[in-house]
């Protein structure tokens, strides 16, 4: 057996090659496994996080990626603090769940997701207008609209109290399993019903505070009047007839709200419904879910349905969540593949089921899942929650202003402050002048 001798040169070359291979930087991709760090919103429905964990674990096992998931709560704005901190540090998770305005606020630091969005839209249908407004900058998709956390804040009425005090059969207007027959459900009807329920000692539980439930409701009414404080081009339009009409109507309506409505936060309306104090609130089905647990006799009388129509249409407040990939993320290709997995129809259906119907997919073809039809009591109470018949236009307060300006209007609660100021006796023109000055500040 002939022995092959290795020369000194061959040995040195071989050693150098081995060193180079061993020392090569690790290039991550789903195929080559690697690590992925995910920051998701901590769902307040018990057990809902398990559904996302299950999907992620299955994907991780299949692709041999080591995934770490952190569920970050929105209580105390911990998620906003985390987003701000990671943006400053340019380090943190690869995928980060961001509510409403945050993809635009962090647009410079996000990886575009056009490639996977095209795939998703093809499979799941078009994205609703609000999610597109908040998730897209020009032609660039900043983030993937997430099912988990996306919600619609329509009316949740008490069937019995609406019949008793306002003479309205809300189930007839919004029958379970069928398209709405709600042409008569407009602003005039709504105002009369609010007055009647107020007289009957069961006022509508709508807040005028500075938190999102109050601001969302005020904004939907504003859009139904065709009013906006800033238009899509960034022009201030506070002193317009549409804004005046909206303000006048809102103050008429607010006179029938609870006297302490300006102090309400996002928990106040839930408590109002669960305590049996009022005939209607504007909320996702979380209040109904609490009632189901704590006051079943009240839950049995709750019906979630569409917004009343105004002169310019029927608008309902929609608050989407997004899954975004930081541009400084270390495993972007794996991150994109995980987002595709989280947006598979089966995954979406499991999220909706785990949240008891609270989460709403942002895609057209996914708003008729059986969860909403089957949830109860009463059965079908959530059927109209995800807007299955496109009966109303989903919207967010301060749209269509450019999102970075709209975010300020929203966060500073300018619409509810305008209503409260005018309600407390400030002349309309003074309120408008104040709002104009505020909004001009937001344009900087």
């Amino acid at each position: 057996m002939a022995k092959k001798r290795i020369t000194r040169r061959q040995f040195v070359a071989g050693a150098m090659a081995s060193t180079a291979v061993l020392g090569m930087p690790y290039v991550s991709s789903a195929q080559s496994a690697g690590k992925l760090s995910v920051g998701l919103w901590d769902h307040w429905v018990p057990g809902a996080n398990d559904a996302s964990k299950k999907v992620i674990d299955a994907w991780a096992a299949k692709n041999k990626v080591e995934v770490t998931v952190d569920y970050i709560p929105s209580q105390g704005n911990k998620n906003l603090l985390t987003i701000a901190a990671e943006a400053q540090a340019k380090a943190g998770h690869d995928i980060m769940a961001m509510p409403t305005w945050w993809p635009h606020a962090q647009s410079d630091l996000l990886e575009p997701v056009n490639d996977i969005m095209a795939e998703m839209i093809k499979k799941l249908g078009n994205v609703n207008g609000t999610s597109e407004y908040l998730g897209k900058l020009g032609d660039k998709w900043l983030a993937v609209p997430a099912t988990i956390g996306s919600q619609l804040k329509g009316p949740c009425s008490r069937i019995d109290l609406m019949k008793q005090h306002a003479g309205i059969d809300i189930q007839a207007l919004y029958p379970a399993g069928a398209p709405p027959k709600a042409d008569s459900w407009n602003f005039d009807t709504f105002l009369k019903a609010a007055e009647a329920c107020h007289k009957g000692g069961k006022p509508f539980g709508i807040g005028l505070g500075e938190t999102s439930d109050s601001v969302d409701t005020a904004g939907a009414f504003m859009q139904s009047f065709g009013a906006a404080l800033v238009d899509a081009k960034g022009n201030v339009t506070v002193k317009s007839d549409a804004v005046r009409q909206w303000l006048e109507y809102s103050v008429k309506l607010a006179k029938f709200f609870p006297a302490d409505a300006p102090a309400w936060d996002d928990a106040s309306n839930n408590k109002w419904l669960v305590a049996g104090n009022g005939a209607l609130i504007m909320n996702p089905p979380s209040a109904w879910a609490v009632a189901k647990r704590d006051a079943p006799q009240i839950a049995e009388q709750c019906w979630t349905h569409g917004f009343p129509a105004g002169a310019k249409g029927r608008f309902a407040p929609f608050l989407p969540y997004f899954w975004s990939i930081w541009s400084f993320g270390k495993n972007k290709s794996a991150a994109k593949q995980l987002l595709v997995a989280l947006s598979e129809p089966d995954a979406i259906a499991s999220f909706v089921a785990a949240s008891g119907g609270y989460d709403i997919p942002n895609f057209d073809k996914m708003t008729t899942l059986p969860t909403w039809a089957n949830e109860g009591p009463p059965k079908g109470t959530l059927y109209h929650y995800p807007n299955p018949h496109n009966h109303q236009q989903l919207s967010i307060t301060a749209a269509p202003a450019p999102p970075k300006i709209a975010q300020q209007i929203y966060v500073q609660a300018t619409p509810t402050k305008m209503i409260t100021r005018h309600l407390q006796g400030e002349p309309m023109e003074k309120t408008l002048a104040w709002a104009e000055s505020e909004v001009e500040g937001f344009l900087r």
Partner: protein, 328 residues
Amino acid sequence: MADATATVVTPAKRAKPAPRSRLRKFFEKKSTIAFFMALPLILLIFTLVIYPAFYAIYLTTLNKRMTATAWMKNCTYLPDWICTNIPFGNLQFLLTRETFWMVFWQSCLFAISAVIFKALIGFVVSHFVHNVPTKGQRKWRGMLLVPWVIPAAMSTLAWQWLFDPSYSAFNWILAQFDVERVSWTGVAHWARFSVILVNVWIGAPFFMIMYLAALKSVPDQLYEAAEIDGANWWQRIWYVTLPMMRNIIAITALFSTIVTFANFDIVRILTAGGPLDKTHLFATWSFRLGIEGGDIPLGATVSLFMVPILAVAAAFILRDVTRRGNEA
């Protein structure tokens, strides 16, 4: 005698000590040891106080998107070439906002009124406790410190229930006496009253314990002398107690003013700044603008606005304390 002489070692014969290295001498210095012992604290302060403070100053000089410097513009009081080279555009913007001046006024109102009430209550209660027989005094001191010991966020949550817009326990009591319910956090003046009340409730025990310590250090002979001179109760307070407590009162007031002025948790939990921004303080408004509104430079500018105000207050009070210290 001969033995004794033999044991004497003359200086010439004594072994020369080895020359100590300069490094060793340096490490043996008291000041060096003190520095190294304090180093962990210095590093902690640098990391958690000095670095963030300078970073906040840097943030205030950036524009909303944090991509460029926020230069000032259109100053009427400065030549253009100076104005446009000062990076305080955020501050210039803030000074033109109505809400900013409202928050400024509210912060002063909140801090001053809360400190005055805390000091008054602390003074009165410390006298009561001082007069309780020594045997039972510890129990009273312990009980009175409870509001200060409970984490503020937790006790404020309890207060939130008492002031709840719809289910206020106070309103329930008022209703028992046929008194109209009060919208504690829904009307500006009641909301301001509520946040100040909670702050006083939490902070008064601190004043009480400080004043109690000061009272205990006043020599009894002074009171005896005053009594012999015919001083009444009020004169003993005015001419003995207060002068002896002056420095403690000043330092406690300064410390409390700083903490109260920069308060965040009470307002954030109780009213979140509402209604109509009428209870916002610098800290809560800064959070609203910077974190919730995504305008971190503007939020940092609001929070830094507190620094010069508090620095001026601190300088005045400490100068007075030093002067009185020198007099003593």
